[in-house]
Amino acid sequence: MKKYRMFFRFEKEEAWLNELAAEGWCFMGRTFWGNYIFEKDEPNPSDNIRIDFRQFNKKDDFREYIQLFSDNGWSHIYGTKYSGWQYFAPIKADAPEDIFSDNASKAGRYHRLCAFWLSLFVVYTSLFAVNIFNNADDPTTIFRPKELYYTPGLWEMTGSSFWRAFLFETPFALGRGFAGLFEIVVLGLCLYFVVRSYIEGKKTKLERG
């Protein structure tokens, strides 16, 4: 079973996964964009999946991280060196309640998430800036569709030769027109995630208990 979800609070994502586990849906993994995959299994009402956000440069650091959690009763059920999202489930029934014991470290995962979105934003901005600067992707051309067709003399053609050339180039023209718009949407989304994760981090840090 696949479900698509996007979460801004780790606690909500944890609660959702545990609800599904109680109904018998075993969490198998997820894609970066929020496609969660589940397998039918025995209902597990006491499951306690916890989530951290952390990326690693060295494989040894990643192994050490997993080992530390394992020593503490947490099995690493999904996540890779770069995935960021790391999912843990208790190994035995008497495992601790949470993988964090103070607010500062709970907030820390939001800060790391924020830094991650910020680096993506910077990468996309530099990629797109080059395109927009070279006028390859001018978002305003969507309002002047004729400019999106590069075939020389297209608009002087008539009859079936015009239609053949026009229809052939239309998919490319659409791509060109929407590329600039697409880039602006991606940048906007990234910026939203940066700000949102920053705010959630500040909120968590100030929570009592």
Binding site: R50, D52, R54, D60, R63, E64, Y65, I66, Q67, L68, F69, D71, N72, W74, F88, P96, D98, I99, F100, S101, D102, A104, S105, G108, R109
Partner: protein
């Protein structure tokens, strides 16, 4: 008279106990056990908090990591700088207790 206090003080409970525990080298799980014992069962550092703390303290040069025979577990130890900071915080805590006692509160 304004006395400039070290920026790292006051230490959090987590940091204080980790530094205290690492006067003897140990790896992550050992540290957690030691801290629980030293604090009389009151301070139990969870896995995620522990990993973050070890990373931060390493960056701040208060502790240092060494490879051990077990490739999946690094051994940590307090640095000389870490010992200095710990001593300063112990002095601060002592001052607080003395202040309470001088006000007539029995400790």
């Amino acid at each position: 008279m304004i006395i400039k206090r070290n920026k790292l003080l006051p230490l959090t409970e987590t940091t204080f106990y980790i530094l205290l525990a690492l006067r003897t080298p140990g790896h992550g799980y050992q540290i957690m056990q030691t801290v629980e014992d030293l604090s009389g069962g009151e301070v139990r550092i969870a896995a995620g908090t522990m990993y973050g703390a070890l990373e931060n303290l390493s960056k701040q040069k208060l502790i240092t990591a060494m490879p051990s025979d077990d490739p999946r577990r690094k051994i940590y130890q307090i640095t000389d700088y870490g010992k200095e900071i710990l001593a300063l915080d112990i002095r601060r805590l002592n001052q607080m207790i003395c202040a309470a006692e001088s006000e007539g509160i029995k400790v």
